[in-house]
């Protein structure tokens, strides 16, 4: 089960780029704040996979340690983000981002 022998690194570059663009499109087209947070998670995951792929291909374990730390920060970010979304829902009874424009100007 070792992909390093037969798959070039450019395949991982293509795949992670497309996955990242799906996340960007999700942030742009959705209005639900929960789905926007999920799209951000998707982007973080594509970057993680690319970092792990480069780490494995260049035989350097520091990249995988970095992926581990990114996972830690992403977990903390999701916990705080969901707490904020619950708080917004309690206050305004909606998590539509077009309602939440008080801080815009």
């Amino acid at each position: 089960m070792n992909a390093l022998n037969s798959i070039p690194i450019s395949y991982y570059l293509m795949f992670c780029s497309v996955l990242f663009c799906i996340g960007v499109t999700g942030v742009l087209i959705k209005r639900n704040a929960l789905v926007i947070l999920m799209s951000i998670e998707l982007m973080i995951n594509s970057i993680n996979l690319l970092l792990a792929a480069f780490s494995a291909y260049s035989n350097d374990p520091a990249g995988q340690i970095f992926v581990f730390f990114i996972m830690v920060v992403a977990a903390a970010e999701v916990a705080i983000g969901l707490a904020i979304i619950v708080l917004i829902y309690k206050t305004t009874h909606s998590i539509d981002i077009d309602i939440l424009n008080k801080l815009k100007w």
Partner: protein, 166 residues
């Protein structure tokens, strides 16, 4: 070769469920498709022989974060359609912008053909033993600081979710 087919299958599964996450109307379907994407990415980690990352990814993302999302969706009773969807031209502009970003990224990376790997068969860096040694020897301070970050996040989430106002 066999690993090539596994790679193609996992990539197609991840991309399909990522697109379906955007296309599904209800948030709970989006959460379930995102879980499928996370499992496909975990399969990619196993394919890269990064076993520690695969286990951590499955536990953290497909376990903890997905439970958090599902809990929030069910707690807030958000399982309904978007009330007023964005106008069509905004969606079209967003899709065009995302596709153009994808074209730029692919165009940049297309000619990338760096031969990075020297000893492809000896890639044992993703195992728990190797990574644990490096984590506790070279990255001890960031590891401890990340534990403080977790404690701060936990306290902050509890404080934000409290009933009475602060």
């Amino acid at each position: 070769m066999f690993t090539n087919y596994i790679f193609y299958f996992l990539s197609a599964l991840a991309l399909y469920s990522g697109v379906m996450m955007l296309l599904s109307k209800k948030p709970i379907h989006s959460v379930l498709f995102l879980t499928l994407t996370f499992f496909a990415i975990g399969g990619h980690y196993i394919l890269l022989n990064a076993q520690f990352l695969a286990i951590v990814h499955i536990i953290v993302y497909a376990g903890a974060i997905m439970v958090l999302f599902l809990f929030t969706v069910m707690l807030l009773n958000l399982n309904k359609d978007e009330r007023s969807p964005k106008p069509v031209w905004v969606k079209g502009a967003a899709i065009i912008a995302g596709a153009m970003l994808g074209m730029v990224l692919i165009g940049v990376f297309r000619g990338y053909d760096l031969h990075l790997v020297q000893h492809p068969m000896e890639s044992q860096i993703g195992l728990v033993k190797e990574l644990g040694r490096i984590l506790y020897r070279d990255y001890m301070l960031p590891f401890e600081i990340s534990s403080i970050l977790f404690l701060t996040a936990m306290v902050g989430a509890v404080l934000l979710g409290k009933k009475e106002q602060i």
